[in-house]
Amino acid sequence: MIRSTRRSRRTVQVAGVGAAALLALTACSSSGSTDSSAESDPSSSASQRLSGEVTVFAAASLKESFTTLGEEFEKQHPGTKVTFSFGGSDSLAASITGGAPADVFAAASPKTMAIVSDAGDTSAAPETFVRNQLEIATLPGNPDKISSLKDLTKSGLKVVLCDESVPCGAAAQKALDAAGVELTPVSYEQDVKSALTKVELKEADAALVYKTDVRAAGGKVEGVDFPESADAVNDYPIALLKDAPNKAAGQTFIELVRSAQGRQVLTGAGFLEP
């Protein structure tokens, strides 16, 4: 089965180069565009040529917004199918350098993207498309009256952080350093979602997670902003991959993510504009 998809991918690649060239032209000349970035026009003839599967490897924190964008992409380009693999940026990067057949990689930090670009696996320089800021997630109603990072050191308070080896943990440490706060958590979690889960299940009183995760959790946690989060903003880079089996569609997906429409979905989920 793998072999047959590879064969068809090759033909798609050949057709894709032409489609990409056409797309670039129509994107530049599209008059309806309100911002400077390239926007894909659903009515252009070039987009009709897109077909097949687009495989997008994306950081777990992008799950909600990218799923929405994937559905939008399939609507704009009938005949295409967007397949996502959401996970920790590090493990996704490892799969890509290990040869996983992906078209697009969207990472939660420049460091994890560098693993892929340093290996020469990106087809162009990665570009930052959104940024994510930390927030304190507390129990609903904020019963412990947490209003700053300093409040997290109150005795008896159970706080979880991400492990420093993952992007949210590195950001959390940066913010704590900036605030001059020394914090001993009850646990260093392996990713941002499991840190949040501990608060959602009320096992921990607070966690340092991304704003987008607090937003995605709905009313199960409450977000508290803190000024030092400005010192620990994470950039999210996106790149087309060198061995992408469906380059044209991959490029068009990146354009959708970076379009005004894409930006609207992402900021709606709590991301900051780059």
Binding site: D163, S165, P185, S187, Y188, Q190, K198, E203
Partner: protein, 280 residues
């Protein structure tokens, strides 16, 4: 009269028999058997090949490694002890008594064997967490909270490892002849005395084999531990957790840690196997 633990648990038939049959192994069996062996050994060989031997001493002398290894050994041993304490009686109940729904109970006891450990961790959180079904009372009445504590690690490991002990002991009990116990009770011993003085010595090899399996499983436990007990160096960070987190940004360290865990597992399994698991 010999006690026969389940074949898989005592490592197959006796050596003498294997040797006698070894001369006449048919090719259609030998080839896939060797492929199976290679399949199981290849990842271990790869680990050895990729080990950064030159930097290994400094990787292994870091205090974090010993802290994690010590915690792993202590928690796995405690989990095995707890499993023996409540698992052997449970196995006896399943093997020697008859009650309605016993088949269902047996199935439920073995559930953690097939349950993804992370699911087990979530279930433990919902049961014994600070806000859990039972956990909230533990917290309110005794001030005990299990998540994020070393006790939590032991609980998580016991949940995953105890079924190995239970099925091993239950199998041994089923194979053991109950007439000895009956004889003891007819001679005036209480059922508990008969269990303690007759049954237990009879099934000792099966119990030991089950305990070794449970210990090894507890040592390697990852999913339930990180979900239920979290990850804090020295308190809840066992070796598998340390390996996983090291893999995120320092693969060489992860390989070194894996090697330690591998060596400890092999040493214990090999050492105990000869002493206990093949004895009858």
């Amino acid at each position: 009269m010999t006690v026969r633990p389940a074949e898989t648990l005592r490592g197959g038939p006796r050596r003498g028999r294997v040797r006698r049959r070894g001369r006449a192994v048919p090719l259609p069996l030998l080839v896939p058997a060797l492929a199976g062996l290679a399949f199981l050994l290849l990842p271990l060989i790869a680990l050895l090949l990729r080990t950064p031997w030159s930097t290994l001493p400094e990787q292994l002398t870091s205090p974090g490694v010993w802290q994690a290894l010590r915690l792993s050994l202590v928690c796995a041993t405690a989990a095995t002890g707890l499993s023996l304490l409540i698992g052997v009686p449970l196995a006896w109940l399943l093997a020697r008594t008859d009650f309605p729904g016993r088949g269902l109970v047996r199935a439920l006891v073995t559930l953690p064997l097939v349950l993804p450990p992370v699911v087990g961790g979530v279930a433990l959180l919902l049961a014994l967490g600070r806000n859990g079904v039972v956990g909230q009372w533990l917290d309110a009445w005794f001030g005990i909270t299990l998540p994020f504590t070393t006790a939590g690690v032991v609980i998580a490991e016991t949940f995953v490892a105890m079924p190995f002990l239970v099925i091993s002991v239950e199998g041994t009990l089923r194979a053991a002849d109950p007439r000895f116990e009956e004889a003891a009770t007819t001679l005036g011993a209480s059922r508990f005395t008969a269990f303690r003085r007759v049954t237990l010595p009879l099934i000792a090899p099966g119990v030991a084999a089950g305990a070794v399996l449970a210990w090894a499983r507890a040592l390697g436990e990852f999913g339930a531990t990180i979900t239920f007990a979290g990850n804090f160096p020295g308190r809840t960070q066992t070796m598998p957790l340390a390996v996983y987190l090291a893999l995120q940004n320092d693969p060489a360290a992860a390989i070194a840690l894996s090697l330690v865990l591998l060596a400890v597992s092999i040493a214990v399994l090999a050492g105990l196997r000869d002493r206990w698991m093949t004895a009858s």
